[in-house]
Assembly symmetry: C2
Homo-oligomer: 281 residues x 2
C-alpha cells in the first residue's frame, strides 16, 4: 500500500516507521512545510520521497494527516476534493469535533476516517519518531458510520499494523473524554512548571533537586504550543469545564491545609489513590 504522511514529525514519522517495518506500507510520500524535517525523514528512512501534496495524494492509497489540529481541519477539505473512492484519508488529531464538522457536508466525507492514537510525548520532529511508539496503546475511531466500509477497514488495518487496539465513539464524546484524560493533564503540567519557574528563582536548585516525581509531573510542560494551543482552542468548552473542576479540587486541598483539617486532607488523598485501581485494572 502506498501511503502519504502529511507532517513527518513525532506522530506521522512513528507511524511511517512502523507501517514500513510491518510491510503494510510499500512506499511512503512525505509532505511537510519544513524542508529540514523532510530531509531528516528521508535520511532516517521514514519516507521514500518528499513530495508536493497534490502529487503525493494522487499516488497514494492512504493519506495520513499528522499535523496540528487547526491545520488538519483546514487542509482536509482540499484533500477530499482530490481523492477517488479507492483512496482513504485519516487524521491523527487530539480533537475530533472540529475536523468532522469541517467536512460533514463534503461529497467525499465517506473517504475520511477520524482517528486519534492515544500516544504522544513532549518531543516533536522526525528525530523523535520511534517505530514501536503505538504498540499496546488505544486508538479511537470517531463517527464510523460516516465513513465507507472499505475506508474504515483500511484504517482498522492500519491500527492493527500499529499494534493498537480500537475504541469507537462519536466525536463529541471523544472530545469530552479527551479533555478529562489528556488535555487537563497538559494544563496542569504547564501551570506547575510556571509555578515553579515563578516561585523558585534559583534555577540551579531546581536542576539539582528535581526528583523523579517532579520530572514526571512536569514532563508534559515541555510540549509545544504549536500543537497545544489549537487543541485547547478546538476543545475550549470541555477543557474549561474540567479546568474549573480541577481548580475547585485544588481549593479543597488548600482549605484542608489552611484549616489544619488533616482528616479531610487524608480523605482527599485516599480518594485520589483510587486512580491506581482504575489505571491498573
Amino acid at each position: 500500500m502506498k501511503i502519504t504522511i502529511i507532517g513527518v514529525g513525532l506522530i506521522g514519522g512513528s507511524m511511517a516507521l512502523k507501517l514500513k517495518a510491518k510491510g503494510f506500507a510499500s512506499y511512503v510520500f512525505g509532505v511537510d512545510q519544513n524542508e529540514n524535517h523532510l530531509l531528516e525523514a528521508k535520511e532516517r528512512g521514514i519516507i521514500d520521497e518528499a513530495s508536493t501534496l497534490e502529487n503525493a495524494v494522487s499516488h497514494s492509497d492512504l493519506v495520513i494527516i499528522a499535523i496540528p489540529v487547526d491545520a488538519s481541519r483546514k487542509i482536509l477539505p482540499g484533500i477530499l476534493d482530490l481523492v477517488t473512492e479507492n483512496q482513504t484519508v485519516m487524521d491523527a488529531g487530539s480533537t475530533k469535533s472540529g475536523i468532522v464538522n469541517a467536512v460533514k457536508n463534503h461529497p467525499n466525507r465517506n473517504r475520511f476516517v477520524a482517528f486519534h492514537p492515544m500516544w504522544g510525548t513532549e518531543n516533536s520532529g522526525p528525530k523523535s519518531a520511534v517505530s514501536e511508539s503505538f504498540a499496546g496503546r488505544a486508538a479511537v475511531i470517531c463517527d464510523r458510520e460516516q465513513s465507507s466500509e472499505d475506508a474504515l477497514k483500511t484504517v482498522e488495518n492500519t491500527a492493527e499494523n500499529l499494534d493498537m487496539h480500537l475504541i469507537y465513539m462519536n466525536a463529541d464524546d471523544h472530545d469530552v473524554h479527551a479533555a478529562y484524560i489528556s488535555h487537563i493533564s497538559h494544563i496542569t503540567s504547564y501551570a506547575l512548571a510556571n509555578t515553579v519557574l515563578e516561585k523558585e528563582r534559583e534555577e540551579d536548585t531546581i536542576f539539582q533537586l528535581a526528583s523523579t516525581g517532579f520530572s514526571s509531573t512536569v514532563r508534559l510542560a515541555k510540549s509545544h504550543p504549536e500543537m497545544w494551543v489549537p487543541i485547547f482552542k478546538q476543545n475550549k468548552e470541555n477543557v474549561l469545564d474540567v479546568l474549573n473542576e480541577h481548580i475547585s479540587q485544588l481549593r479543597k486541598f488548600k482549605s484542608a491545609l489552611e484549616k489544619e483539617n488533616y482528616e479531610l486532607l487524608e480523605e482527599l488523598i485516599r480518594n485520589a489513590n483510587k486512580i491506581r485501581g482504575i489505571l491498573e485494572k
Copy 2:
C-alpha cells in the same frame, strides 16, 4: 558496618539492599511495626535480623530512620538517648525543619545527621525496594554544622555508597525548595486524579483511554496518605504558599481560554516550556 533500618519499606529497604551489595553494610537489623514487612524484608535479604529498637540500636554503628516524618520526629529523641559517641543516626524524611527542631537541644544532637534522598515512587513496602533506586540522584544534608565531623563523614560515605551526589543546605531552605520541587507535584497529581474521578464517571473509559501523558501526570496520586499527610502538615506554610501560586497560574490558563486570548495562552505555554532547559541542563 552494622546498620539498623527503622522502617523496612521502599526507602529503607532500597538503602539496605544497596549498602549490602556494596559491602558497606555487613549486618542489617530491621525494625518495623509491621510484622509482615519484617518477614518479607528477611525473605528478600533486605535485613539479616528482625529486632526490637533497643537491641538493634545497641548493636549498630549507623541507625537509618526511614518512616513517615511525624513518626521520625517522635522516635528520634529516644534513639539519641540510647546512642554513644561512636554511633550515628540519620533520617530520610522529605521535611527537615520539624525533625531538626525536635532535637535541637538534645545532648546527643551531634550524633544525628538530617538527610533527604531525592528519590521515591508511588509504591511502598519492602516488595517495592530496589537496590539501584538512588543511583545518580541528589541527596540533601541539612544543618551539617550541628553534626559531629565523624557522624557527618559516616553519612557522606553512606550517600557515596548509594551512588548519590550531595547537596548541603539549612533545614528551612530545604523545606522551601522541597515544597516547590516535590510537595506541590503531589498535590497537583492528587487534585488531578480527583478531578478525573469526579468528572469522568465512566471508569472503563479512563482505563481504556488513559494515555502515557495522563499516567505520567497522575502517577504520584497513587502515593499513600500515611506518608504524605505528615509531610504536608510539617511543611504547611511553604506548601500553602506554592499552592496559592499554582492556583493563580491555573487561573491564568482559565482566563486566557475564557477570553479566547490565544496569544496569552501561547505565551503561558512558551514560558512553561522553559522547564525543559532547566531540567536538561
